[in-house]
Amino acid sequence: MAITREEVRRVAALARLRLEPAEEERLTADLDHILEAFARLSSVDTRTVEPTAHVEDFGAYLRDDVATNPPAGDEPLANAPATRGRLFRVPRIIE
């Protein structure tokens, strides 16, 4: 098996996805199937190969330190599901 149901549960928790048992089962089968197919990658010798993080041929773009954004009006909150005044409202955060 390339991936177990336990691992699927762990990954779903990391990704904050609530899965129904049937979904969990199907995903385990799907991911297992996909990862088995991808297993052939391990046969490629990459010992001296640099990973590609970026394909670009140019260097980092740096911006000048100027604060040109105006104070925001209603836009930040316009799509918010729940607010109180100008604050976003969420279920209680427990530390």
Binding site: A53, Y61, D64, A67, T68, P71, A72, R86, R89, E95
Partner: protein, 483 residues
């Protein structure tokens, strides 16, 4: 509580908010405050489709700190995503640095009980700050403000080189001092621009293996850091003493109960799934840029302290106090340039001047500009006292009168006849008068109570409108009392 036989191992992780004009990845102002969610834009709110663009000055500040702490500045470094879910983290990941930080392998020289100790720095890297969660009491909701989201931070990670609380405190003060000298962070723990997490473990003295590491968070002042680390060392030592094993965990400092406690939330084992940030290209910092930044570095606290000891013959302690802040050290040297004697001036600055600075919280500013008196004025006062022209009390009383003016104290002394009276003849009468009026105290002194002399000197000072030379008064009194 004895922790004999136990060696604490302490590492500190500091997050410093930078004093740039704009945020690290967008052009919102970095000085936030005001109405919630007004100092935001689609980038720092994590709106769909928006991308980070790196602020050059953040890199410059990071290079400055790296050079000031003897780090190696990487020619190639890279941003990475730290993935986790939290309401104040708008993108669901924080753009930070992981495998390839900008600065590595530096150190700080810290003074503990007059001895210099070297504490290693593992790394310094750049990252973005999160928004702020606001917890309402008795509510089942929390509120989130993103004004702070995207403010630039430097994360400064020390090696676990500290072995006691004093070293930890000294390290933090030294680091804050350096940040202020470089004018990249105002180092204010109470306001959150300088934050500290501690990693604490203990082991039997003389061993080298590291014990279980506990991370301690939520310390909001230098005192809290010291108390929390002290508490944690004792807790761990006591547990080991009872034969208990310790859990690797994150604990929060509870300032009210004065204890650390484990976090209540179900803490997912932190799998941050770091990977290189694809929206930002690798950062190249060449020699030229590093040299340009190096040329802008001021003389740093430790070398300046050593120079003060050497050139001004000050004690290490005094030199340390004077060089904690660059503006104070600059003030001191300006006063020397105006003619004050170093030892005198050291005394005046560390007592009189700093008292006012602390009382009026002038040191809240990154650089103090609003001095109670100018260096030249203070230099003049010190010189007047040293030459005996006025006594110390008169000088102290003159400070508030000089404030906000450019008046020469000497001219004021002359104008109001504030000169010190040192002539013995002039003072004898006052002395005799005081002796006559206070037979009880005279008797006490004669019976051995040295301390009452101070009272009698005070009475003479009062009688002379504060102008008497206290040393002369003391001599005359002793003579009179013996008789």
């Amino acid at each position: 509580m004895t922790t004999a036989g136990i060696e604490p191992v302490i590492g500190l992780e500091v997050h410093a908010e930078l004093l740039t004009r704009s945020k690290i990845f967008c052009a919102c102002s970095a000085t936030f405050g005001g109405e919630p969610n007004t100092n935001v834009c689609p980038v720092c709110l994590g709106m769909p489709g928006l991308l980070p663009v790196l602020n050059r000055r953040v890199v410059e500040f990071a290079i400055r700190l790296g050079l000031a702490t003897h780090c190696a500045i990487a020619a190639n470094s890279r941003f990475a995503r730290k993935n986790y879910f939290y309401p104040d983290l708008p993108k669901g990941y924080q753009i930070s640095m992981y495998e390839l930080p900008l600065c590595t392998g530096g150190h700080l020289e810290v003074l503990v009980d007059g001895q210099s100790r070297r504490i290693g720095l593992t790394r310094i890297h750049m990252e973005e700050d999160t928004g702020k969660n606001i917890h309402e009491p008795n509510a089942d909701t929390s509120l989130v403000d993103f004004n702070r989201s995207g403010v630039p931070l430097l994360e400064i990670v020390s090696e676990p080189d500290m072995r006691n609380v004093a070293e930890a405190g000294a390290y933090l003060r030294t680091l804050r001092s350096i940040l202020q000298y470089l004018e990249i962070c105002d180092g204010n723990m109470e306001e959150g621009s300088f934050r500290c997490d501690a990693n604490v473990s203990v082991r039997p003295a003389g061993t080298t293996a590291l014990g279980t590491k506990v991370e301690v968070k939520n310390m909001n002042s230098f005192r809290s850091v010291e108390k929390a680390i002290t508490y944690e060392i004792e807790r761990q030592a006591a547990a080991l003493g009872r034969g208990e094993s310790l859990r690797q965990e994150t604990r929060l400092w509870d300032a009210e109960r004065e204890e650390t406690r484990p976090m209540r939330s179900k803490e997912f084992a932190h799998d941050y799934r770091y990977f290189p940030e694809p929206d930002l290209l690798p950062l190249v910092v060449d020699r030229t840029w590093v040299d340009e930044v190096r040329a802008t570095l001021p003389e740093l606290p430790a070398p300046r302290r050593e120079r003060f000891v050497r050139d001004y013959q000050l004690s290490t302690y005094d030199a340390d106090v004077l060089t904690q802040r660059k503006d104070i050290a600059d003030y001191f040297e300006a006063a020397i340039a105006a003619g004050a004697a170093p030892k005198e001036m050291a005394n005046w600055v560390t007592t009189e001047l700093l008292r006012i600075v602390h009382d009026e919280k002038l040191d809240r500013a990154l650089v103090i500009r609003d001095w109670p008196v100018t260096p030249t004025q203070l230099a003049r006062l010190a010189t007047l006292v040293q030459s005996g022209t006025i006594n110390r009390n008169t000088a102290k009383a003159l400070v508030p009168r000089l404030r906000g003016t450019t008046r020469d104290p000497q001219e004021l002394v002359a104008a109001e006849g504030l000169g010190q009276v040192s002539d013995r003849g002039a003072l004898e009468a006052a002395v005799a008068d005081v002796v006559a009026r206070h037979p009880a105290q005279v008797a006490e002194f004669r019976s051995g109570k040295e301390r009452v002399l101070g009272f009698l000197v005070g009475q003479v000072m009062k009688a002379t409108g504060g102008k008497a030379n206290p040393q002369v008064v003391q001599e005359l009194l002793r003579t009179a009392l013996v008789a």
